[in-house]
Symmetry: C2
Subunit: 385 residues, 2 copies
């Protein structure tokens, strides 16, 4: 099983350049550069623009043969810190590696950007530099969740772009999440669920009931199946692919899942090293435990994708090591390669128009217009790697 | 380690009667009755009123010697189903075992009620039959969360009484949650955290920032320490005891934690039974794995406590088996025995008064009034079991 989604095809034969904010992240630039090198070693079609302090990055890049000839360094003296306020970075962040990384995408020098930095600042600067897609109220961040389904992943969004979401934003998340999942996993008709406190129709907040109505109505236009309300226990379910929620709830769910997995893994480690017999059993059990660890490794799911912008941006976990950074780069590469960004932007405009005609004003005769630009949303074929 | 919180003392020497809705729950009345019997076998000071269909319950009770002489059956023909709407049950539920179980508490025949039934209906009927404590806007449901701390548990509330909470409700949850934790774990000064999407002050929704201000201001009156914002990853943290959030977010977090634990446990089981060597290692590792399973067993944490009502109500998980029901009964017994309910009701009135004077109107000279009735909130001594 690969580190990130399988099943995409290259519509372009050219190399893909990834713009990397090399200064973000808790592990520092050496982990980021090592992650780039790991990706380059496995992928002959990739190139990098690394943004950050040239005097730091040049010797780091020189250490990795795989980066030779495919890596440009774009000097930027400033760094966005994890506790910088997004509003400050928007006003005073022009000299930072994060700003510079997004500018390369804006200028078409790179097809996607990756950063391990401050999520709020990254979203704020991305909105400023790349702008929202036409018709999108609020961008969202989609993450992968380990699943019992065939692809091994579900998608949860929004996990933190915006702490509130009204019913129309939740509808847009459903549309964008379905398009993302369709491209990432070659699934022609993803199943969309709406996160709630129960699966019964009478439960939940008013805006969620209204969102359920809108998402159900838009299923044909958005080419997904709506499975209705799902609960926190269903995040890993094989019966849903895309789980829609507001950014506050999604962020709490993501971190609760992470925290629970870490607690269990720590408890297991304590018990398996508590005495001689336990240590022996741990030794003998090491192979299945390693397999399990690999299946559940959060680094393999690393990469929150920003949806709804004029450009592909992948947010890597702040604490990502080289393996995690490499997974985020791979995800960015595949999304860039699939042409996902171009197609999602064409579709969203038409879908939003159609939604306003069909769902928000169901009597309109132009309801079917949204179907026009959707034909090229899924590619078939084999994976490039 | 025991199934539920240690550290309480009996202020009454009399027996404690628990009123049990014997018809609720997915496992049916036989699991509920078996849970009562398991509690009775370990606790000589307990008695039961079992509510439900007499013709079903009489033979079930007769099977368990431990229940003989301490169990009354209160016949009620109706059952609240898991998909019944709370509003329907409030109007037409007089003949149900749930209604009858709460009536026994209202009439003083029992000191606490336990039900595995429909949570929404149980809260609705509990509010109708027991009424809110004076000054409480909205009752909350508090659950236990496995923790790295000394007590082994944190408390999370609200996990589903109300899908919304304004800043004043969040403040009341902090006060009620701290009082509950103080009684349940004999912790004189619990540490309270407010769930948010980041620990930085500028993050999160407006009502949460305002709630943080109120909860910080009320720390002395409420006799807790406010540790500020916590994230989903902190639910098991040793640095916090009580985590406050709205019922929508709390319910999603609770179920996400459950779902994640189940996914990991299933994956572990698959990997450990995947081949001969794996099976052998599982056999040898069985003792540490069993210990870990016991430490993380969700049945031991079974029991959502309804806070803010004139009476103690414990909601057991709908899917609880006899072990889970017994844990919920034990929790109800200890809360009844600690006199928690009487003290919390005295305190909340004075705290609410003081809050309105001190926090909401900080210039009032009567700000200190809230301290008056708080002296008896924690008991010391040894556990009855």
């Amino acid at each position: 099983m690969a580190d990130t989604p399988q099943g995409m095809t290259p519509p372009h034969s050219d190399n893909i350049t990834i713009s990397v904010d090399a200064m973000g992240g808790d592990e520092g630039p050496s982990a980021v550069v090592a992650g780039c090198a790991a990706s380059a070693a496995r992928n002959p079609c990739i190139a990098f623009i690394l943004h950050g302090d040239e005097s730091v990055l040049t010797p780091l890049v020189a250490r990795h043969k795989a980066l030779s000839g495919i890596t440009q360094i774009a000097h930027s003296p400033g760094v966005v810190r994890m506790d910088d306020k997004p509003s400050q970075v928007m006003r005073h962040g022009r000299e930072t590696s994060m700003w510079s990384a997004l500018t390369s995408v804006r200028e078409g020098k790179a097809q996607a950007a990756v950063s391990c930095g401050n999520t709020g600042a990254l979203m704020a600067v991305a909105m400023l530099r790349l702008r929202r897609l036409e018709g999108v109220h609020r961008p969202a961040i989609a993450c992968l969740w380990p699943s019992r389904g065939d692809s091994g992943y579900n998608t949860l969004l929004d996990v933190g772009a915006d702490v509130r979401a009204d019913e129309e934003s939740l509808l847009q998340y459903a549309l964008m999440g379905a398009a993302y999942y369709r491209n990432a996993f070659n699934a022609p008709r993803p199943r969309v669920g709406l996160l709630n406190v129960g699966t019964e129709e009478h439960k939940g907040r008013g805006e969620i009931k209204e969102a359920a109505r809108l998402i159900a109505e838009a299923a044909e236009i958005g080419r997904y199946d709506f499975v209705g309300f799902v609960e926190g226990t269903d995040l890993a379910s094989a019966h849903v692919d895309v789980i829609v929620t507001d950014g506050f709830t999604g962020n709490v769910a993501l971190k609760t899942g992470e925290g629970t997995a870490r607690l269990i893994s720590d408890t297991l480690r304590e018990e398996l090293t508590a005495g001689f017999w336990s240590k022996l059993s741990a030794l003998i059990a090491s192979s299945p435990l390693r397999r399990m660890k690999r299946r559940m490794d959060p680094r393999r799911m690393n990469g929150g994708v920003f949806l709804g912008l004029n450009g592909t941006v992948v947010k890597s976990h702040g604490a990502a090591d080289a393996t995690g950074v490499s997974a985020a780069i791979k995800l960015a590469f595949r999304l860039a390669q699939s042409g996902f960004q171009d197609r999602i932007s064409q579709r969203l405009v038409s879908i939003t128009d159609a939604m306003h005609e069909k769902v928000l004003d169901p009597k309109s005769p132009e309801a079917a217009r949204g179907h026009r630009d959707e034909d090229e949303d899924t590619q078939t074929g084999t994976s490039p790697e």
